[in-house]
């Protein structure tokens, strides 16, 4: 019998049953064949399996590998055109003499971004996801093996430009970094809340364009903190270099911590 209204019909397929956590438990023990001996041999199996279980177990393997090898990994996410590749290219130029850097590029098609990274002299591997809209942990595991990543290095994973799907997929990274450019509008953190909730760091890029666009920085930061009170925020311009030190310093400090704990 139904635990909500007492009806006897349990075939809710495709319909929405609003329940809260407490009375959801009432649902887990019904037997639709009760009292119907002539029914087929259907049986019920109870389980608790997360839909992301498979991805999460690959992500855990990746994370362990990164910890054991002192690899600091960032998963960069944004909408298309926010400036992830330019941010990486400029970062590599400044930091490549301090520690080894490698990049995994995710795009549906083309090698363009990996070519831009390779032009800086660091290793890059392009994953073309085809129709898929995000990278997954299994693909990252394969890419890491192919790429051959040095110990005590920085690995940047540039995800597919998409503010929706990559939020759910843990790749084994230390942090998700969401890049938002001021040309996109200050209400993006509310419109795509899942992503800003999942990220630890938000980079607000293209601040050199602030005089030309209708973008309210305070509003944007307030919205981001409303979704994720602990999100760290850095405002910069990757092309003009404005406030770029704050980002590269953050990276250097993070790298030092990883190298230190790897040495222990």
């Amino acid at each position: 019998m139904c635990g909500i209204c007492g009806c006897s019909d349990m075939s809710f397929s495709g319909k929405f049953i609003p329940v809260n956590k407490a009375n959801a438990l009432l649902f887990t023990s019904y037997d639709s064949n009760q009292g119907d001996e002539s029914a087929d041999k259907s049986r019920l199996i109870q389980m608790e399996v997360d839909l992301l279980d498979k991805n999460n177990s690959y992500a855990a393997k990746n994370r362990l590998y990164f910890q054991e090898h002192g690899v600091f990994v960032l998963n960069l996410v944004s909408s298309p055109g926010a400036g992830k590749t330019t941010l990486l290219v400029e970062t590599i130029k400044i930091l490549k003499d301090f520690f080894p850097i490698a990049v995994i590029e995710g795009d549906q098609q083309t090698q363009h971004d990996a070519d831009r990274i390779r032009a800086t002299g660091v290793r890059a591997l392009q994953i073309n996801t085809g129709r898929a809209c995000h990278l997954d942990a299994q693909g990252i595991g394969v890419a890491v093996a192919k790429l051959g990543i040095e110990n005590n290095s920085f690995l940047a994973i540039e995800n597919v430009g998409n503010l929706v799907c990559p939020s759910a997929f843990d790749l084994g990274e230390a942090h998700k970094v969401v890049v938002l450019s001021v040309t996109e509008g200050d209400d993006k953190p509310l419109k795509y809340a899942d992503m800003f909730y999942a990220a630890d760091l938000m980079i607000i890029n293209k601040i050199d364009l602030l005089p030309y666009v209708d973008f309210n920085m305070d509003r944007c930061i307030t919205f981001a903190r409303q979704v994720n009170p602990s999100i760290h925020i850095i405002e910069l311009s990757a092309t003009k270099g404005d406030n770029f030190d704050e980002w590269t310093n953050w990276l250097r400090v993070s790298m030092q911590k990883v190298i230190k704990s790897h040495a222990l």
């Binding site: 495709g14 259907s42 199996i45 809340a193 899942d194």
Partner: protein
């Protein structure tokens, strides 16, 4: 459309369980989906048939159990209902909330034969 990837996961979970728990077909799949999770139920339902085609769940039906969103306010410590990740506390208006429930995306029950 990450719902497609999630359903491919469901399919492989079903195949694994079919081997270990000895069943040939799945008649119903119960999914527990939190109101604050990143899953769009319509997209999930839409893609279900395509992903399950030629599998042991080809004729299966989907049952959704909705888990309501709930947060605990850092400020006043009370529980408050949430329908969006950016909701504020209904008691004190503060937005520092720790999500207590609503992010679930789980298979909780299979009807098999």
């Amino acid at each position: 459309m990450h719902e497609l990837s999630l359903l491919e996961n469901v399919r492989s979970i079903l195949e694994e369980h079919a081997r270990s728990q000895h069943f040939q077909a799945v008649e119903n799949i119960t999914l527990e989906i939190g109101a604050l999770s990143c899953v769009e139920l319509e997209a999930l339902t839409f893609a279900f048939e395509a992903v399950m085609k030629d599998s042991l769940a080809e004729h299966a039906e989907l049952t959704f159990k909705r888990i309501e969103g709930q947060g605990r306010c850092f400020e006043c410590g009370q529980l408050t209902p949430m329908t969006e990740l950016y909701d504020v506390c209904t008691h004190c208006g503060h937005f520092r909330l720790e999500i207590v429930s609503g992010l679930e995306m789980k298979i909780t029950e299979l009807k098999v034969r």
